[in-house]
Protein backbone atom coordinates (compact mmCIF):
# COMPACT_ATOMS: atom_id res chain seq x y z
CA UNK A 1 0.00 0.00 0.00
CA UNK A 2 0.98 3.54 -0.67
CA UNK A 3 3.23 5.75 1.36
CA UNK A 4 3.10 8.80 -0.83
CA UNK A 5 3.14 12.51 -0.27
CA UNK A 6 5.13 15.70 -0.32
CA UNK A 7 7.94 16.64 2.06
CA UNK A 8 6.11 19.93 2.55
CA UNK A 9 3.49 18.03 4.54
CA UNK A 10 5.47 15.10 5.88
CA UNK A 11 9.16 15.72 6.45
CA UNK A 12 12.22 13.54 5.94
CA UNK A 13 12.58 13.31 9.71
CA UNK A 14 9.02 12.05 10.10
CA UNK A 15 9.49 9.56 7.29
CA UNK A 16 12.65 8.15 8.86
CA UNK A 17 10.92 7.96 12.22
CA UNK A 18 8.11 5.93 10.67
CA UNK A 19 10.46 3.63 8.76
CA UNK A 20 12.51 3.08 11.91
CA UNK A 21 9.60 2.32 14.22
CA UNK A 22 7.71 0.20 11.68
CA UNK A 23 10.95 -1.64 10.80
CA UNK A 24 10.21 -1.18 7.12
CA UNK A 25 11.99 -2.74 4.17
CA UNK A 26 12.01 -1.04 0.79
CA UNK A 27 13.10 2.03 -1.11
CA UNK A 28 12.07 5.63 -0.60
CA UNK A 29 12.31 7.83 -3.69
CA UNK A 30 12.15 11.61 -3.53
CA UNK A 31 11.76 13.86 -6.52
CA UNK A 32 12.01 17.65 -6.56
CA UNK A 33 11.84 19.92 -9.56
CA UNK A 34 15.58 19.71 -10.11
CA UNK A 35 16.84 16.78 -8.04
CA UNK A 36 16.05 13.24 -7.07
CA UNK A 37 17.26 10.79 -4.45
CA UNK A 38 16.66 7.27 -3.24
CA UNK A 39 17.17 5.64 0.12
CA UNK A 40 16.81 1.95 0.82
CA UNK A 41 16.06 0.26 4.11
CA UNK A 42 16.10 -3.22 5.48
CA UNK A 43 14.03 -3.87 8.60
CA UNK A 44 14.20 -0.25 9.61
CA UNK A 45 17.90 0.24 9.01
CA UNK A 46 19.26 2.51 6.32
CA UNK A 47 21.35 0.43 3.93
CA UNK A 48 21.82 2.58 0.86
CA UNK A 49 21.28 6.10 -0.46
CA UNK A 50 21.86 7.68 -3.79
CA UNK A 51 21.53 11.22 -5.09
CA UNK A 52 20.36 11.48 -8.69
CA UNK A 53 18.63 8.90 -10.80
CA UNK A 54 20.09 5.53 -9.91
CA UNK A 55 21.09 4.01 -13.22
CA UNK A 56 22.17 0.72 -11.68
CA UNK A 57 25.82 1.32 -12.68
CA UNK A 58 28.73 1.03 -10.29
CA UNK A 59 29.96 4.06 -8.38
CA UNK A 60 32.48 2.74 -5.89
CA UNK A 61 35.44 4.42 -7.65
CA UNK A 62 33.66 7.77 -7.36
CA UNK A 63 32.85 7.18 -3.70
CA UNK A 64 36.46 6.27 -2.86
CA UNK A 65 37.68 9.34 -4.70
CA UNK A 66 35.30 11.59 -2.74
CA UNK A 67 36.54 10.12 0.53
CA UNK A 68 40.17 10.66 -0.53
CA UNK A 69 41.05 6.97 -0.63
CA UNK A 70 41.76 7.15 -4.36
CA UNK A 71 43.27 10.00 -6.36
CA UNK A 72 41.23 11.31 -9.30
CA UNK A 73 43.68 9.61 -11.68
CA UNK A 74 43.42 6.27 -9.89
CA UNK A 75 39.66 6.51 -9.85
CA UNK A 76 39.58 7.24 -13.54
CA UNK A 77 41.80 4.27 -14.41
CA UNK A 78 39.68 1.95 -12.30
CA UNK A 79 36.49 3.31 -13.77
CA UNK A 80 37.73 2.71 -17.31
CA UNK A 81 38.34 -0.95 -16.49
CA UNK A 82 35.18 -1.39 -14.47
CA UNK A 83 32.59 -1.34 -17.22
CA UNK A 84 29.98 -3.97 -16.44
CA UNK A 85 31.44 -4.82 -13.04
CA UNK A 86 29.48 -4.37 -9.83
CA UNK A 87 30.61 -2.33 -6.83
CA UNK A 88 31.07 -5.55 -4.89
CA UNK A 89 33.35 -6.98 -7.58
CA UNK A 90 35.36 -3.76 -7.84
CA UNK A 91 35.70 -3.63 -4.07
CA UNK A 92 36.90 -7.20 -4.00
CA UNK A 93 39.50 -6.51 -6.70
CA UNK A 94 40.76 -3.37 -4.96
CA UNK A 95 41.15 -5.11 -1.62
CA UNK A 96 42.92 -8.09 -3.22
CA UNK A 97 45.24 -5.70 -5.04
CA UNK A 98 45.83 -3.92 -1.73
CA UNK A 99 44.85 -0.56 -3.15
CA UNK A 100 42.47 0.05 -0.25
CA UNK A 101 41.43 -1.91 2.82
CA UNK A 102 38.03 -3.38 3.41
CA UNK A 103 37.59 -0.90 6.21
CA UNK A 104 38.34 2.00 3.82
CA UNK A 105 35.53 0.78 1.62
CA UNK A 106 33.05 0.36 4.45
CA UNK A 107 33.82 3.77 5.92
CA UNK A 108 33.67 5.52 2.54
CA UNK A 109 30.40 3.90 1.51
CA UNK A 110 28.90 4.65 4.90
CA UNK A 111 29.98 8.29 4.75
CA UNK A 112 28.60 8.60 1.24
CA UNK A 113 25.22 7.30 2.38
CA UNK A 114 25.18 9.65 5.37
CA UNK A 115 26.19 12.71 3.31
CA UNK A 116 23.37 11.95 0.90
CA UNK A 117 20.77 11.55 3.62
CA UNK A 118 21.85 14.68 5.49
CA UNK A 119 21.34 16.68 2.31
CA UNK A 120 17.78 15.39 2.19
CA UNK A 121 17.01 16.93 5.56
CA UNK A 122 17.37 20.35 3.96
CA UNK A 123 14.80 19.63 1.25
CA UNK A 124 11.59 21.36 2.24
CA UNK A 125 9.66 20.16 -0.76
CA UNK A 126 9.62 17.10 -2.97
CA UNK A 127 7.29 14.30 -3.91
CA UNK A 128 8.09 11.05 -2.16
CA UNK A 129 6.95 7.48 -2.41
CA UNK A 130 7.99 4.35 -0.58
CA UNK A 131 8.07 1.05 -2.45
CA UNK A 132 8.00 -1.83 -0.03
CA UNK A 133 10.37 -4.60 -0.93
CA UNK A 134 12.05 -2.76 -3.82
CA UNK A 135 15.74 -3.17 -3.03
CA UNK A 136 18.88 -1.69 -4.54
CA UNK A 137 20.79 -3.55 -7.23
CA UNK A 138 22.35 -6.61 -5.60
CA UNK A 139 25.82 -5.58 -6.81
CA UNK A 140 25.87 -2.55 -4.51
CA UNK A 141 27.69 -2.57 -1.22
CA UNK A 142 25.09 -2.02 1.50
CA UNK A 143 25.90 -1.22 5.11
CA UNK A 144 23.18 -1.19 7.77
CA UNK A 145 23.06 2.11 9.64
CA UNK A 146 20.85 2.77 12.67
CA UNK A 147 18.29 5.43 11.88
CA UNK A 148 18.27 6.80 15.41
CA UNK A 149 21.63 8.52 15.02
CA UNK A 150 20.75 9.64 11.51
CA UNK A 151 17.57 11.28 12.83
CA UNK A 152 19.47 13.00 15.64
CA UNK A 153 21.98 14.41 13.20
CA UNK A 154 19.23 15.45 10.80
CA UNK A 155 17.40 17.34 13.50
CA UNK A 156 20.60 19.22 14.37
CA UNK A 157 20.42 20.65 10.88
CA UNK A 158 16.85 21.82 11.21
CA UNK A 159 16.56 25.55 10.83
CA UNK A 160 12.84 26.01 10.56
CA UNK A 161 11.41 27.41 13.70
CA UNK A 162 7.84 26.90 12.46
CA UNK A 163 8.14 23.14 12.12
CA UNK A 164 9.44 22.80 15.65
CA UNK A 165 6.77 25.10 16.96
CA UNK A 166 4.08 22.96 15.35
CA UNK A 167 5.58 19.67 16.43
CA UNK A 168 6.19 20.79 19.98
CA UNK A 169 3.68 23.46 20.79
CA UNK A 170 3.66 22.82 24.51
CA UNK A 171 6.86 23.11 26.56
CA UNK A 172 5.10 22.41 29.83
CA UNK A 173 4.93 18.66 29.33
CA UNK A 174 7.41 16.21 30.74
CA UNK A 175 9.39 13.48 29.02
CA UNK A 176 10.37 9.96 29.83
CA UNK A 177 12.59 7.41 28.17
CA UNK A 178 11.11 4.76 25.95
CA UNK A 179 12.16 1.19 26.70
CA UNK A 180 15.83 0.22 26.98
CA UNK A 181 17.31 3.74 26.99
CA UNK A 182 20.82 2.53 27.88
CA UNK A 183 21.12 0.25 24.89
CA UNK A 184 19.75 2.90 22.58
CA UNK A 185 21.85 5.73 23.94
CA UNK A 186 25.04 3.74 23.63
CA UNK A 187 24.61 3.55 19.87
CA UNK A 188 24.04 7.24 19.30
CA UNK A 189 26.53 10.05 19.14
CA UNK A 190 25.14 12.83 21.24
CA UNK A 191 26.56 16.30 21.71
CA UNK A 192 27.42 17.58 25.17
CA UNK A 193 24.27 19.67 25.20
CA UNK A 194 22.15 16.72 24.22
CA UNK A 195 23.67 14.61 26.98
CA UNK A 196 22.85 17.35 29.47
CA UNK A 197 19.24 17.29 28.31
CA UNK A 198 19.21 13.48 28.55
CA UNK A 199 20.37 13.67 32.14
CA UNK A 200 17.33 15.79 33.01
CA UNK A 201 14.74 13.56 31.36
CA UNK A 202 12.34 12.63 34.11
CA UNK A 203 8.55 12.63 34.43
CA UNK A 204 8.90 15.36 37.05
CA UNK A 205 10.75 17.84 34.79
CA UNK A 206 8.88 19.77 32.14
CA UNK A 207 10.68 20.56 28.91
CA UNK A 208 10.68 24.21 29.94
CA UNK A 209 12.40 23.38 33.23
CA UNK A 210 15.03 21.33 31.43
CA UNK A 211 15.71 24.28 29.11
CA UNK A 212 16.00 26.65 32.02
CA UNK A 213 18.36 24.40 33.94
CA UNK A 214 20.62 24.14 30.90
CA UNK A 215 20.32 27.71 29.74
CA UNK A 216 18.90 26.68 26.39
CA UNK A 217 16.68 28.90 24.27
CA UNK A 218 13.20 27.73 23.29
CA UNK A 219 14.49 26.99 19.81
CA UNK A 220 17.46 24.96 21.03
CA UNK A 221 15.49 22.86 23.48
CA UNK A 222 12.77 22.26 20.91
CA UNK A 223 15.29 21.09 18.38
CA UNK A 224 16.98 18.69 20.77
CA UNK A 225 13.74 17.28 22.14
CA UNK A 226 12.30 16.99 18.64
CA UNK A 227 15.32 14.95 17.57
CA UNK A 228 15.07 12.69 20.60
CA UNK A 229 11.32 12.21 20.05
CA UNK A 230 11.72 11.38 16.38
CA UNK A 231 14.62 9.07 17.14
CA UNK A 232 12.29 7.24 19.50
CA UNK A 233 14.46 7.85 22.58
CA UNK A 234 11.89 9.70 24.62
CA UNK A 235 8.14 10.16 24.70
CA UNK A 236 5.76 12.60 26.31
CA UNK A 237 4.44 11.75 29.71
CA UNK A 238 0.71 11.59 29.13
CA UNK A 239 -0.69 13.77 31.80
CA UNK A 240 -4.17 14.85 30.91
CA UNK A 241 -4.10 18.58 30.40
CA UNK A 242 -6.22 20.40 32.93
CA UNK A 243 -9.60 20.63 31.31
CA UNK A 244 -10.45 24.11 30.12
CA UNK A 245 -12.11 26.10 32.89
CA UNK A 246 -15.74 25.25 32.67
CA UNK A 247 -18.23 27.74 33.87
CA UNK A 248 -21.25 26.26 35.50
CA UNK A 249 -23.67 26.62 32.64
CA UNK A 250 -27.34 26.14 33.42
CA UNK A 251 -27.42 23.13 31.09
CA UNK A 252 -24.60 21.58 33.02
CA UNK A 253 -26.21 22.02 36.39
CA UNK A 254 -29.35 20.37 35.15
CA UNK A 255 -27.41 17.39 33.80
CA UNK A 256 -28.67 14.15 35.31
CA UNK A 257 -26.37 12.29 37.70
CA UNK A 258 -24.07 9.66 36.17
CA UNK A 259 -25.92 6.35 35.79
CA UNK A 260 -24.65 3.40 37.76
CA UNK A 261 -21.97 1.28 36.07
CA UNK A 262 -24.41 -1.61 35.73
CA UNK A 263 -26.98 0.60 34.04
CA UNK A 264 -24.33 2.05 31.78
CA UNK A 265 -23.13 -1.41 30.89
CA UNK A 266 -26.56 -2.59 29.92
CA UNK A 267 -26.98 0.46 27.67
CA UNK A 268 -23.71 -0.32 25.91
CA UNK A 269 -24.69 -3.96 25.43
CA UNK A 270 -27.99 -2.89 23.91
CA UNK A 271 -26.21 -0.50 21.55
CA UNK A 272 -23.91 -3.30 20.43
CA UNK A 273 -26.86 -5.56 19.66
CA UNK A 274 -28.62 -2.82 17.76
CA UNK A 275 -25.65 -1.84 15.63
CA UNK A 276 -24.81 -5.46 14.84
CA UNK A 277 -28.30 -5.81 13.47
CA UNK A 278 -28.22 -2.71 11.29
Amino acid sequence: MALKGNLRDFSTTQLLNLINLARKTGTLSIQTESESAQMSFREGKLIYAYMGNDNGKNHLAQILQTSGKLSPEQAQVIQSHAEGKSDKEIGHLLVTARRVTQNDIIQSVRQNVLDTVYKLFTWGEGVFRFDANRMPNSGYITIPIDLESVIMEGSRRLKEWEILQEELPDLDVALRFTDRPDARLRNINLTVEEWRVVSFVNPRNSIRQIAKANNLSDFEIRRIVYGMLQAGLVEFVNQPKPAPEKTESPARRKAPPEPSPAAKRSVVVRLIDRIRGL
Partner: protein, 182 residues
Protein backbone atom coordinates in the same frame (compact mmCIF):
# COMPACT_ATOMS: atom_id res chain seq x y z
CA UNK B 1 -36.37 8.16 26.99
CA UNK B 2 -32.62 7.91 27.44
CA UNK B 3 -30.36 9.46 24.81
CA UNK B 4 -26.68 8.67 24.52
CA UNK B 5 -24.24 10.26 22.15
CA UNK B 6 -21.06 9.57 20.33
CA UNK B 7 -18.94 12.18 18.63
CA UNK B 8 -17.35 11.76 15.22
CA UNK B 9 -14.44 14.13 14.82
CA UNK B 10 -11.41 14.62 12.60
CA UNK B 11 -9.82 17.09 10.19
CA UNK B 12 -11.48 18.84 7.28
CA UNK B 13 -12.89 16.44 4.68
CA UNK B 14 -11.94 13.28 6.61
CA UNK B 15 -15.37 11.75 5.93
CA UNK B 16 -17.26 12.50 9.14
CA UNK B 17 -20.55 13.48 7.47
CA UNK B 18 -20.31 10.45 5.20
CA UNK B 19 -19.65 8.15 8.18
CA UNK B 20 -22.77 9.32 10.01
CA UNK B 21 -24.82 9.20 6.84
CA UNK B 22 -23.97 5.55 6.29
CA UNK B 23 -25.63 4.36 9.50
CA UNK B 24 -28.08 7.05 10.50
CA UNK B 25 -31.76 6.14 10.15
CA UNK B 26 -32.62 9.75 9.40
CA UNK B 27 -31.02 11.89 6.73
CA UNK B 28 -28.11 13.56 8.38
CA UNK B 29 -29.21 16.88 9.74
CA UNK B 30 -26.29 18.81 8.51
CA UNK B 31 -25.27 22.40 8.69
CA UNK B 32 -23.31 22.33 5.48
CA UNK B 33 -22.25 25.45 3.66
CA UNK B 34 -20.83 25.94 0.24
CA UNK B 35 -17.11 26.38 0.55
CA UNK B 36 -15.89 29.88 -0.11
CA UNK B 37 -12.14 29.74 0.47
CA UNK B 38 -10.16 28.54 -2.52
CA UNK B 39 -7.72 26.53 -0.42
CA UNK B 40 -10.48 24.30 0.81
CA UNK B 41 -12.23 24.04 -2.54
CA UNK B 42 -11.73 20.27 -2.79
CA UNK B 43 -15.40 19.60 -2.35
CA UNK B 44 -18.63 21.46 -2.58
CA UNK B 45 -19.72 21.89 0.99
CA UNK B 46 -18.40 21.60 4.52
CA UNK B 47 -19.94 21.16 7.94
CA UNK B 48 -20.01 24.43 9.86
CA UNK B 49 -21.68 23.68 13.17
CA UNK B 50 -22.32 19.97 13.43
CA UNK B 51 -23.86 16.94 11.80
CA UNK B 52 -26.50 14.99 13.50
CA UNK B 53 -27.55 11.38 12.97
CA UNK B 54 -29.75 8.99 14.90
CA UNK B 55 -30.03 5.26 15.60
CA UNK B 56 -33.08 4.23 17.63
CA UNK B 57 -32.43 1.28 19.91
CA UNK B 58 -35.86 0.92 21.49
CA UNK B 59 -38.76 2.91 22.93
CA UNK B 60 -36.57 4.01 25.78
CA UNK B 61 -33.10 4.39 24.21
CA UNK B 62 -31.68 6.31 21.29
CA UNK B 63 -28.13 6.86 20.07
CA UNK B 64 -27.17 10.20 18.57
CA UNK B 65 -24.12 10.62 16.41
CA UNK B 66 -22.67 14.11 16.35
CA UNK B 67 -20.18 15.10 13.71
CA UNK B 68 -17.91 18.02 14.46
CA UNK B 69 -17.00 20.65 11.91
CA UNK B 70 -13.58 19.92 10.46
CA UNK B 71 -12.37 23.43 9.99
CA UNK B 72 -10.41 25.04 12.81
CA UNK B 73 -12.44 28.18 12.86
CA UNK B 74 -15.43 26.25 14.17
CA UNK B 75 -13.59 24.52 16.98
CA UNK B 76 -15.52 26.41 19.65
CA UNK B 77 -18.20 23.78 18.95
CA UNK B 78 -16.00 20.89 20.02
CA UNK B 79 -16.18 21.36 23.74
CA UNK B 80 -19.95 21.74 23.67
CA UNK B 81 -20.44 18.68 21.45
CA UNK B 82 -18.19 16.52 23.59
CA UNK B 83 -20.08 17.06 26.84
CA UNK B 84 -21.49 13.80 28.14
CA UNK B 85 -20.37 11.71 25.19
CA UNK B 86 -20.07 7.94 25.58
CA UNK B 87 -17.03 7.80 23.32
CA UNK B 88 -15.63 9.30 20.14
CA UNK B 89 -14.26 8.36 16.75
CA UNK B 90 -11.35 10.29 15.26
CA UNK B 91 -11.54 10.07 11.47
CA UNK B 92 -8.45 10.52 9.36
CA UNK B 93 -8.31 10.79 5.58
CA UNK B 94 -5.61 8.15 5.05
CA UNK B 95 -4.73 9.61 1.66
CA UNK B 96 -3.82 13.06 2.99
CA UNK B 97 -0.56 13.16 4.98
CA UNK B 98 -0.93 16.94 5.19
CA UNK B 99 -3.81 16.40 7.63
CA UNK B 100 -2.12 13.90 9.98
CA UNK B 101 -0.67 16.55 12.26
CA UNK B 102 -4.05 18.22 12.57
CA UNK B 103 -5.65 14.84 13.30
CA UNK B 104 -3.21 14.35 16.14
CA UNK B 105 -4.00 17.75 17.57
CA UNK B 106 -7.76 17.11 17.42
CA UNK B 107 -7.24 13.72 19.06
CA UNK B 108 -5.27 15.29 21.90
CA UNK B 109 -7.83 18.02 22.39
CA UNK B 110 -10.71 15.53 22.68
CA UNK B 111 -8.64 13.36 24.97
CA UNK B 112 -8.27 16.32 27.28
CA UNK B 113 -12.05 16.89 27.41
CA UNK B 114 -12.91 13.46 28.72
CA UNK B 115 -11.39 10.12 29.61
CA UNK B 116 -13.94 8.26 27.49
CA UNK B 117 -12.58 5.62 25.12
CA UNK B 118 -12.08 6.41 21.47
CA UNK B 119 -11.05 4.69 18.26
CA UNK B 120 -9.28 6.07 15.21
CA UNK B 121 -10.79 5.32 11.81
CA UNK B 122 -8.21 5.26 9.02
CA UNK B 123 -10.73 6.33 6.41
CA UNK B 124 -10.77 6.12 2.60
CA UNK B 125 -8.95 2.78 2.60
CA UNK B 126 -10.61 2.06 -0.74
CA UNK B 127 -8.35 4.61 -2.39
CA UNK B 128 -5.04 3.71 -3.93
CA UNK B 129 -3.09 6.40 -2.08
CA UNK B 130 -4.29 5.38 1.38
CA UNK B 131 -1.60 5.04 4.05
CA UNK B 132 -1.76 1.89 6.14
CA UNK B 133 -3.54 1.96 9.49
CA UNK B 134 -0.48 0.62 11.28
CA UNK B 135 1.64 3.44 9.84
CA UNK B 136 -0.94 5.92 11.06
CA UNK B 137 -0.73 4.38 14.51
CA UNK B 138 2.95 5.33 14.64
CA UNK B 139 2.47 8.76 13.11
CA UNK B 140 -0.34 9.68 15.49
CA UNK B 141 1.61 8.16 18.41
CA UNK B 142 -1.40 6.17 19.55
CA UNK B 143 -1.25 4.37 22.84
CA UNK B 144 -1.23 0.59 22.43
CA UNK B 145 -4.71 0.21 23.86
CA UNK B 146 -6.24 2.62 21.31
CA UNK B 147 -7.62 0.81 18.27
CA UNK B 148 -6.99 2.03 14.76
CA UNK B 149 -9.43 0.61 12.24
CA UNK B 150 -9.31 0.50 8.48
CA UNK B 151 -12.44 2.31 7.31
CA UNK B 152 -14.42 3.10 4.20
CA UNK B 153 -17.08 5.54 5.36
CA UNK B 154 -19.20 4.97 2.26
CA UNK B 155 -19.54 1.30 3.27
CA UNK B 156 -22.11 0.65 5.99
CA UNK B 157 -20.43 -2.54 7.25
CA UNK B 158 -17.16 -0.69 7.70
CA UNK B 159 -18.84 2.06 9.70
CA UNK B 160 -20.71 -0.50 11.82
CA UNK B 161 -17.41 -2.19 12.56
CA UNK B 162 -15.84 1.08 13.74
CA UNK B 163 -18.78 1.84 16.02
CA UNK B 164 -18.79 -1.70 17.40
CA UNK B 165 -15.08 -1.59 18.15
CA UNK B 166 -15.64 1.67 20.00
CA UNK B 167 -18.46 0.09 22.01
CA UNK B 168 -16.26 -2.90 22.86
CA UNK B 169 -13.62 -0.49 24.15
CA UNK B 170 -16.24 1.27 26.25
CA UNK B 171 -17.36 -2.07 27.64
CA UNK B 172 -13.77 -2.99 28.45
CA UNK B 173 -13.27 0.26 30.29
CA UNK B 174 -16.46 -0.24 32.31
CA UNK B 175 -15.46 -3.78 33.24
CA UNK B 176 -12.01 -2.60 34.22
CA UNK B 177 -13.40 0.12 36.47
CA UNK B 178 -15.70 -2.42 38.09
CA UNK B 179 -12.84 -4.88 38.49
CA UNK B 180 -10.81 -2.18 40.24
CA UNK B 181 -13.57 -1.56 42.72
CA UNK B 182 -14.22 -5.13 43.73
Amino acid sequence: MQAVKMVITGPFSAGKTQFIGSVSEIDVVSTERKISSMAEQVKESTTVAMDFGRITVGDDLVLYLFGTPGQRRFDFMWDILSQGMLGFVVMVDSTKPETFREAKRILETFESYASTPYVVAANKQDMEDAWEPEDLRIILRLKPEVKILPCVATDKESVKNALLELLYSILDQLDQENGDKS
